[in-house]
């Protein structure tokens, strides 16, 4: 499914929707960036509570389809700006990472 459909299904807040038609093919959740760079696959939805600027570079390099910030974590405007510059799909949810990943998406 596309990130736009995923966003609707999970009722996500849009922080930056750079490419609504990007295909989501799987998922990964984690906050330690080197683990994410080891485990996340191209096309994944990456669920994390990390919100510092480095998540944008990690999202770009791993080529995940989108980043979903869990637990409604605070995020600085400068990070959202960087997501715009790097064309990263960035969403947020009030739900926990567990709840987000527990939705039946059949990815």
């Amino acid at each position: 499914m596309t990130t736009a459909i995923l966003r609707e299904k999970l009722n996500l807040e849009i922080l930056n929707e750079a490419d609504p038609n990007r295909e989501v093919t799987g998922g990964y959740t984690g906050d330690l960036l080197s683990w994410v760079m080891s485990g996340a696959q191209s096309g994944d939805m990456w669920v994390t509570i990390m919100t510092n600027i480095n998540i944008i570079a990690v999202a770009s390099l791993t080529d995940v389809a989108c980043v979903v910030i869990a637990d409604g974590a605070e995020i600085e405007d400068s990070v959202i700006e960087q997501a715009k510059i790097r064309n990263i799909n960035l969403y947020r949810s009030k739900k926990t990472a567990y709840q987000i990943c527990n939705e039946p998406l059949f990815l």
Binding site: D31, L32, L33, S34, W35, M37, S38, S42, M50, N52, I53, N54, I55, A57, V58, S60, L61, T62, D63, S78, R86
Partner: protein, 141 residues
């Protein structure tokens, strides 16, 4: 006959942690422009990012050189930081000397060097305590 490589040079600033990763993100774009396959781009840019971040966190910056040949890409990252006293230990998954301030940003899992090894075909580290570290990584195309 080996054709001259395409060369790209980056200075990695050791002070600015928020812009760390710029060189790797640039390389990703450049490699895409010259038609390298997505899988190779992913491996090269993640390996370079891990190394770049290490230079910023552990060695106060340095330089990165990327040489693109017709059959391989060679990454050379060089710093004049403190060096790595026990390389075998540093290579182990989970070993990290990153301070708490860095850990709170999601780094310091001790997975960077193992990732660099995993994503490249050849990795060589020359390091001397008090002098610096040079990491050379090769990915075959």
């Amino acid at each position: 006959m080996t054709k001259e490589p395409l060369r790209f040079h980056f200075d990695i600033c050791g002070e600015n942690f928020t812009s760390a990763g710029e060189a790797s993100v640039s390389i990703k774009r450049i490699l895409r422009q010259i038609g390298i396959s997505p899988d190779i781009i992913r491996r090269v840019s993640i390996a370079m990012y891990e190394c770049e971040i290490n230079m910023v966190i552990h060695a106060n910056g340095g330089t990165a050189d990327v040489d693109v040949y017709t059959d391989k890409i060679i990454l050379t990252l060089k710093d004049e930081g403190p060096g790595i006293p026990d390389l075998e230990l540093a290579m182990q998954e989970g070993y990290s000397t990153a301070p708490d301030s860095i850990r709170s940003l999601g780094f310091g899992a001790g997975m960077g060097l193992p990732n660099m090894k995993k994503y490249t075909d050849v990795m060589d580290i020359k390091t001397e305590v008090g002098k610096g570290t040079t990491v050379t990584m090769t990915v075959f195309l």
